[in-house]
Amino acid sequence: MDSHTTPRLLLIQQYTQTDAAQIAPLLEACHTRATAIHHFALQHFSPLLQPATVWVSPLHPPVSQEHEK
């Protein structure tokens, strides 16, 4: 396990038992993806850029729709 994936493994092991060797390739891939997004964020994200969670929730429909009334 590389040093940069160890913190992820420790976090996971707080919640669930996992085989370190088995999960290592996924943690590596996850780390690579997260690092890529982090670098992209440093270069391109404005401080005012809101996460999608701000606009996704209002996209969900009301409990009942007009044609059901």
């Binding site: 913190p7 992820r8 493994l9 976090l11 996971i12 919640y15 669930t16 038992q17 996992t18 088995q22 999960i23 996924l26 943690l27 996850c30 993806r33 997260a34 890529a36 997004i37 982090h38 992209f40 964020a41 391109h44 994200f45 850029l49 809101q50 996460p51 999608a52 969670t53 701000v54 606009w55 996704v56 209002p58 996209l59 969900h60 429909p61 729709q65 007009e66 044609h67 059901e68």
Partner: protein
């Protein structure tokens, strides 16, 4: 091939009303087709006796002048993560085995109100987290066109059932491509609606900010009928002309694909141009990060949902899904939120592009159905992982919460279906379906049937 199963839902509905065959006869043809294709493992459950009783009642209703509409008497199947009252809803898992749904999902309620006959649940990747439908608890599904190959996933059973016509339409769910992928690999049409367009209550979630539910069927008009039943929206008329239609292409991003996919893509753009549409390249910056953002969100959100089961019952998951869910537990809040901020940036760009465009065209996949167990695909000498390839084009609509439609647009040199994808702005589901229906008036890719059911 049973002649009853050769027709679109509209044509089937017309023939039912003309008395050419009855609802029970149609149902029996579907049940026989399911039995004929059982080795593909498209279904987890078949409710033959209930369906027969409903078919008899449905026929009586038609004969007495009660007509619920185009889906009246039409056999449909739903993915195993969609609740049907009184039936097991296990979402492809051992964790939820024996879980009997107390009430119908809203989509099921609407299908029933529209007169559709539910015949069973379709096999899926465990908890919808995967693209192969290789399910350790309920068996692997096989591709309708070549049983050595994957049917894609996670709605693999829905794609296979629609392709072999053991149901005239199916429902699937799509988070990162789970309707569009099996639609493409099995040669049918599949609609991922915009997020929130169709209520997902009663559908077991994967990643709530991305999840959608939608139809799969050979004809775009079939999907339009189901979509109308699910939403109450009227179907959009098929355009007589494409003159003035503005189609966005993603240039080089769409070009690193298998040559047979490229050929189908080019043929379709020529068809669009010949029909009067204007195709132009659109630049979306940072698109190369789309898969990274989608994967991070699709790791983190399901991990939160499954955290209790991961702690108490990790042994009850299949290895692949357990490891993915556990990986999600190791993502930080900041990493998750940066991926969600990327979505906002991408959606702003795509919505800006839609001020000048009506649709964006991309392949659904860079390749056709891989062999079971295959992890890498060769594209022009470059190795691409099946996981990343699955998401490359599907990530765009998923991240932007926009509607997208995969439709059959050709076959590769091995006789495997090729799908292309139309992405539209918010609320454009009907227009995407109408555009694909227009193409299907002049093409026959969607009507071809796998050899095993053609003989």
């Amino acid at each position: 091939m049973s002649t009853l199963l050769r027709f679109s839902i509209d044509e089937t509905a017309r023939r039912l009303r003309a008395g050419e065959f009855s609802v029970p006869e149609l149902l029996e043809a579907c049940l026989a087709r399911e039995a004929q294709t059982r080795e593909l493992n498209a279904y987890n459950a078949i409710w033959a006796e209930q369906a027969r009783a409903l078919a008899a009642a449905s026929q009586t209703q038609l004969e007495h002048g009660y007509d619920a509409g185009p889906l009246h008497g039409i056999p449909v199947a739903v993915k195993a993560n969609i609740a049907v009252a009184g039936e097991e809803m296990h979402a492809g898992s051992r964790i939820l085995a024996g879980n009997i749904a107390q009430q119908d999902a809203r989509v099921v309620k609407r299908l029933k109100q529209a007169g559709a006959i539910l015949i069973g649940t379709t096999n899926m990747h465990e908890f919808a987290w995967g693209g192969t439908t290789n399910n350790p608890h309920y068996g692997a599904s096989a591709n309708a066109w070549d049983r050595r190959r994957i049917p894609a996933g996670s709605s693999g059973g829905s794609g296979v059932a629609a392709a072999v016509r053991s149901a005239l339409a199916t429902l699937g769910t799509d988070t990162g491509g789970s309707i569009r992928l099996p639609a493409s690999m099995n040669g049918v049409t599949g609609l991922r609606p915009g997020v929130g367009r169709i209520a997902t209550d009663g559908v077991f979630p994967l990643a709530a900010s991305l999840d959608t539910v939608g139809p799969l069927a050979p004809w775009a008009s079939d999907c339009a009928r189901v979509y109308s039943a699910l939403t109450g929206e009227k179907a959009v008329a098929i355009p007589a002309s494409l003159r003035g239609l503005r189609v966005g292409l993603l240039g080089a991003y769409s070009e690193t694909v298998h040559p047979d996919v490229a050929q189908a893509y080019q043929a379709f753009t020529h068809w669009l141009s010949d029909a009067g549409a204007r195709c132009e390249n659109v630049a979306l910056s940072g698109l190369e990060e789309a898969v990274n953002a989608l994967v991070l969100i699709n790791l983190a959100e399901p991990a939160a949902l499954h955290s209790r089961w991961l702690q108490e019952r990790p042994q009850d998951y299949g290895d692949d899904v357990r490891l993915l869910l556990q990986t999600g537990l190791g993502i930080s809040a900041v990493e998750y939120l940066q991926a969600q901020r990327y979505r906002t940036l991408l959606r702003e760009q795509v919505l800006a592009a839609f001020r000048e465009l009506d649709v964006i065209l991309v392949p659904t996949l860079p390749f056709t159905a891989p062999l079971k167990g295959q992890e890498l695909v060769d594209i022009g000498g470059q190795q691409e992982s099946v996981l990343t390839g699955n998401m490359r084009f599907n990530a765009i609509a998923s991240l932007c919460a926009l509607p997208a439609l995969s439709f059959p647009a050709g076959f590769d040199r091995d006789g495997l279906p090729v799908g292309l994808q139309l992405i539209g702005p918010d609320g454009s589901e009907g227009r995407l379906l109408a555009l694909a229906a227009r193409f299907q008036q002049e093409s026959d890719y969607h009507t071809r049937t796998p050899l095993m059911v053609a003989r």
